[in-house]
Amino acid sequence: MTVALAPYGIVASLALVLLLPIARSARDERARACWAWSLPEPQAGGLAPVVDLATFALRRAGVGSRALGPVVRACSAEITRALAHQELWSRLRAASGNAPQGTRRTLGLTAIEARLCILSLKFAYGIERRGWQCVGHFVDLRRRLRS
C-alpha cells in the first residue's frame, strides 16, 4: 500500500518544490517588472539610434507626420531629463537591489531602449501599456529593422 502511494508522493513533493519559489517570487513580480522596464541608464553613442527607433515605432502606431516631431522630442526630452538626474537614477538602482536584467538580456535590449519603447507606446496610444505587450511590440520592431 505504501509503495503504491509513492507516485503521489513524488507529485506532491515536486509541486511543493515549485510552489514555494513561485509564492515567494510572485509577490514582488509586479514591482520587479516595473523596475525592469523603467530604469534608465547611460548609453554610449547618444540618443540618435533610439530616437530613430521611436520614430519608427510611432509611425507604425499610426501617428501622423505632423504630430511625430513633438512626440519624439517629448520622448527625447524625458529620457535626457532622466539621464540628467544621476542621483535619482542611482537611488532607483539602489532601491531595486539586484536590478532584474533577465528579460532585457534575453532580448539584447538596453534599458533605455526598453524605456523608449514604453514611452513611444504611451504617447502613441495615450495610455501606459503593460510590459509584456511592449516586449512583443519591440521584438517585432527589431525584427523589421534588421530585415
Binding site: M1, V3, A4, L5, A6, P7, Y8, I10, V11, A12, L14, A15, L18, L19, P21, I22, S25, A26, E29, R32, A33, A36, R60, A61, G62, P100, Q101, G102, T103, T106, L107, Y125, I127, R129, R130, G131, W132, Q133, V135, G136, H137, V139, D140
Partner: protein, 215 residues
C-alpha cells in the same frame, strides 16, 4: 451540492470571460470551461445521473486532452515575446510530458487491476499540473510579465490539478466516506480556482487591447 458549486463557479468564470472578450486570450481554457459546464449539466439531466465508471473515465479523458491543450496554449502565448525563453519552455514541457509517461508506467506497474485506470488519470492530472507550475517558475526566472489570465492558469490551475491528482488518487485508494470527502474537496478546489479566474477575467478588462494596437 458539490456539482452545483462547481457549475456555478464555472458559469461565473465563463460569464466574465465572455463579457469582456477575454476568452480570446485563452481559447483552450474557455473550451475546457464549456466542456465542464456541459458535462455537469449532462450528468444532472442524464438518466441515473450519468454516474458510472465508464462515463467518468470518458469525461476525464476528454477533459485531459483539453487540459494539455491549455498547457500548450499557455506556453505559446505566455512566452510569445521571448523566442529564446520559449524554446527553453518547450523543452521543459517536453521533458515534463516524458516524466509523466514514466510516472504513469511506474504507477501502473505498482497497482494493476480495476484501479489502474483511475490511478493513470490521477497521475496524468498531476503531470499536467506540474507542467503548468514549471512554466510559471520559468516566467519568473525570465522576469517575463505575464497576462493576468495566463498567470491564473499557470499558477492556480496548475496547483488545482496537482491537488486533484492527489485527491483522485486518494479516492481511488480509499473507500466509503473518505472517498466522498475527497470528491467534495476536489469540487470545492475547482470552484475556488474558477472564482479566481472569474475575478481575473472581470478585473482584467483594463488590460484589454484598445482598438488599433497590433497583436
Amino acid at each position: 451540492m458539490s456539482n452545483a458549486l462547481l457549475v456555478t463557479a464555472a458559469c461565473l468564470a465563463l460569464g466574465a470571460l465572455l463579457t469582456w472578450g477575454a476568452w480570446r486570450a485563452h481559447l483552450a481554457l474557455s473550451a475546457y470551461l464549456v466542456l465542464i459546464v456541459g458535462l455537469n449539466f449532462w450528468q444532472v439531466t442524464a438518466p441515473h445521473g450519468g454516474a458510472n465508471a465508464a462515463t467518468f473515465v470518458g469525461q476525464e479523458v476528454t477533459a485531459m486532452v483539453l487540459r494539455y491543450a491549455v498547457v500548450v496554449e499557455a506556453l505559446l502565448r505566455a512566452f510569445k515575446p521571448l523566442p529564446g525563453a520559449r524554446r527553453v519552455a518547450a523543452g521543459v514541457v517536453l521533458c515534463a510530458c516524458l516524466a509523466t509517461v514514466a510516472l504513469l508506467a511506474w504507477g501502473l506497474s505498482l497497482a494493476a487491476g480495476p484501479r489502474a485506470t483511475f490511478r493513470a488519470l490521477a497521475l496524468a492530472n498531476g503531470g499536467a499540473g506540474l507542467t503548468l507550475l514549471a512554466l510559471r517558475a520559468l516566467t519568473l526566472h525570465y522576469y517575463l510579465p505575464v497576462h493576468p489570465l495566463h498567470r491564473v492558469t499557470l499558477t492556480w490551475f496548475g496547483a488545482y490539478l496537482v491537488l486533484r491528482s492527489l485527491l483522485l488518487g486518494a479516492a481511488t485508494e480509499w473507500s466509503g466516506t473518505l472517498r466522498v470527502q475527497a470528491v467534495t474537496v476536489s469540487s470545492v478546489a475547482w470552484a475556488g480556482w474558477a472564482l479566481v479566474l472569474a475575478w481575473a477575467a472581470w478585473t482584467g478588462q483594463r488590460w484589454r487591447r484598445p482598438h488599433g494596437i497590433p497583436s
